[in-house]
């Protein structure tokens, strides 16, 4: 024990000096890569991105292709050759759905769609929310009051309910669902950015920049907003998970994506009455949603632990 202690101290001193030599970004990345929940989340997401990108290669059939062969019933259960399924039958990893389509292919194409839904809605909401929050925090006064009260009102609705109401006005469909989900997630980002802007806008380096004659736009975008990036990234990662769940929920209710789109929520909604005679049709799309959401949640948790200085113990 006694001989080990100096060696350990030396090792930790080495680690400290190694940390010191890197940029803050590199240090944050290092911590992120060492975080167990982030590792798991990133592995899941990497696999999903791979599936989404190579969906055309991975999926044995097109998502709307009907497979009609003798011996194949509507809602046939999975048939996997290595697990002892009759090799004369075509291999169906997740079985057939009610329209004779290969469920596995549809789930694979669904990965592409769900990731797009998550990134697009969250991207739009982050940009709009960040702008609103930045303007509110930077200008203060009536602009702040007006913008933030509007955000309070949006937050006064349970988000899915508001999204349903917005879809009822815009009409059903995937695009309108995405708009609705994006609108209801704006307030969260506006609040995060406003808080960061308020915390730095009176700091010396901002005042110095103003004294040097920098314009408001330059001060806001170059000096202030980069400070809001850290909390924004954390909230956005968790926000993608919520956006995917909400969009799937709307599609499940029949208000979002329309058939034959391979959207996981819609697939669940279409097959929900088959749960007792063909449970595989309900199990796989839901498990896919869960896995995707889990990936973003784990990544978000890991990002928070790695980026939040208060949690660095």
């Amino acid at each position: 024990m006694a001989e080990l202690a100096p060696a350990r101290a030396e090792a930790s001193a080495l680690r400290v000096s190694a940390e010191r030599g890197r940029s803050p970004l590199a240090r944050a990345l290092r911590r992120l890569l060492q975080n167990r929940s982030a590792q798991l989340g990133m592995s899941i997401l990497a696999a999903l991105v791979f599936v989404a990108v190579f969906a055309d290669v991975i999926a044995p059939y097109a998502y709307d292709q009907q497979i009609r062969q003798p011996g194949l019933r509507r809602r046939s259960p999975p048939c996997i050759h290595v697990l002892g399924c009759d090799p004369s039958k075509p291999q169906l990893l997740m079985g057939l759905d009610s329209n004779f389509r290969d469920l596995f292919s549809r789930v694979v194409y669904g990965a592409r769609l769900s990731l797009q839904i998550g990134f697009v809605t969250t991207g739009v909401a982050v940009v709009i929310g960040a702008l609103l929050g930045a303007v509110a925090g930077y200008l203060g006064g009536w602009a702040d009051a007006l913008i933030m009260r509007a955000m309070d009102v949006l937050l006064a609705f349970p988000s899915l309910l508001l999204a349903i109401a917005i879809v009822s006005v815009l009409g059903t469909g995937l695009i309108n669902t995405l708009i609705a989900v994006a609108i209801v997630s704006i307030p969260v980002y506006a609040r995060v950015v406003r808080a960061s802007v308020l915390s730095v806008k009176e700091m010396d380096y901002v005042l110095a920049s103003r004294a040097l004659g920098a314009s408001d736009v330059r001060i806001l975008f170059v000096r202030i907003l980069p400070n809001a990036l850290t909390p924004l990234v954390v909230v956005a990662a968790l926000g993608i998970a919520t956006a995917i769940l909400d969009a799937a929920g709307l599609s499940f209710l029949g208000l979002g994506a329309q058939p034959p789109t391979p959207e996981w929520g819609l697939m669940l909604g279409e097959e929900r009455n088959s749960v007792f005679n063909a449970p595989h049709l309900v199990f796989f799309p839901g498990a896919a949603i869960m896995l995707t959401v889990l990936g973003f949640n784990l990544l978000g948790d890991g990002l928070r632990d790695a980026l939040d200085p208060r949690r660095r113990v």
Partner: protein
């Protein structure tokens, strides 16, 4: 304390006005001619004129808004375009189901969530802890409607014939007869607020059965609520468990807990009386934040279990383009949400005196 509550109530006014503004605007944002949208493309010009007259659509927008706020304050939520019924009656019919479901789900989530969190914190880093936290992570990521369908499969089909079998759909076993309280108490000619209140009570099946002493129906209704409530509550259960665990671990590291142990207090009393009590404050906040997700979950889960609540009604109304119904339910749910948040704020201030000062 009273001043705190009053100030919160005053602060609510602008938010309430904002909610009214949003629900009012919803109807005005419908693309195209509202008459053609609601009455159908083939509506005649005369019919449309009468329609616009009835809904005051020719008046300036501010006038329309003031009239809307006025009628909402009088309890008039308009009439359903499809059925011609007053929307208030539809609300009295559908809202209790959703509230019952949300309440049962909340009870489930809070009781089991806190229990799981406490066990995880006490057995920190044990197999139980790791298992509970893995479950919590999965729970947060599950779509409620999927969990509902899987529960229905397991408890209605896989466990059929065992004592654990549970009904997968409906509010009561078909054929069960539970008269409304209006009939049971001979108050069929009640009007206005009394009628609305009685309808609300009647459609709160658990309460209605209890009031009429029909305990067989009560148990039947409860059995039908178990699966949906578990489905709706699981996400919140996971969030509450994680929060309880974190808060318990924070408190356990503090000096006064060491003191309590040092003076020889039995471990279960240290945990229950000192740690849990102090850990509950952040937990209550999280419960409050979960109300929105519980309400949304209830709306989604009703579809799975064919329950006659707000969710199924809203989806039907949206597909039928019955906008006054959509508008009314959006408004009601938002108001309930705001009131529950107020209650949470107040109870938070009750638990932690420091809050009242700010």
């Amino acid at each position: 304390m009273l001043r705190f509550v009053l100030r919160r109530l005053v602060l609510l006014m602008p938010v309430m006005m904002g909610i009214l503004l949003v629900t009012f605007t919803l109807l005005r944002l419908i693309p195209g001619d509202p008459c053609k949208v609601m009455l159908g493309e083939r509506a005649t010009e005369a019919k449309c004129a009468a329609f616009r007259e009835r809904f005051g659509l020719d008046d300036p927008i501010p006038v329309q808004f003031v009239r809307y706020v006025g009628s909402v304050l009088q309890g008039d939520l308009g009439t359903s375009i499809k059925t011609g019924r007053p929307v208030v009656e539809v609300v009295a019919e559908r809202l209790p189901m959703t509230l019952e479901l949300t309440l049962c789900a909340t009870l489930f989530a809070v009781s089991f969530g806190v229990l799981l969190g406490v066990i995880s914190a006490v057995k920190h880093n044990s197999l139980v802890d790791v298992g509970a936290m893995v479950l919590a992570n999965l729970g947060v990521s599950m779509p409620v409607f999927w969990l509902g369908l899987m529960l229905a499969y397991v408890f209605a089909l896989a466990l059929r014939g065992t004592p654990f079998q549970l009904p997968p759909s409906g509010r009561l076993t078909p054929g069960t007869d539970l008269p409304s309280l209006l009939k049971a108490w001979g108050l069929e000619d009640a009007q206005g607020v009394a009628r609305f209140a009685l309808l609300l009570l009647s459609n709160t099946v658990l309460l209605n059965a209890a009031l009429q002493g029909r305990w067989d129906v009560f148990l039947d209704a409860l059995r039908h609520l178990i699966l949906p409530a578990v489905a709706v509550g699981t996400i919140s259960l996971a969030v509450i468990a994680r929060m309880t665990r974190g808060a318990m671990l924070d408190v356990m590291a503090q000096e006064f807990v060491r003191t309590a142990r040092a003076k020889g207090l039995a471990e279960q009393w240290v945990v229950l009386r000192h740690v849990l009590r102090n850990a509950l404050v952040p937990v209550v906040t999280v419960v409050g934040l979960q109300v929105g997700s519980l309400l949304s979950g209830a709306v989604l889960t009703e579809t799975v279990f064919s329950l006659p609540g707000v969710g199924t009604q809203m989806v039907d109304a949206i597909i039928a383009r019955d906008y006054p119904v959509v508008q009314a339910f959006t408004l009601i749910i938002a108001l309930i949400f705001v009131v529950i948040n107020l209650i949470v704020d107040v109870s938070y201030a009750f638990l932690d005196p420091r809050i009242r000062l700010h």
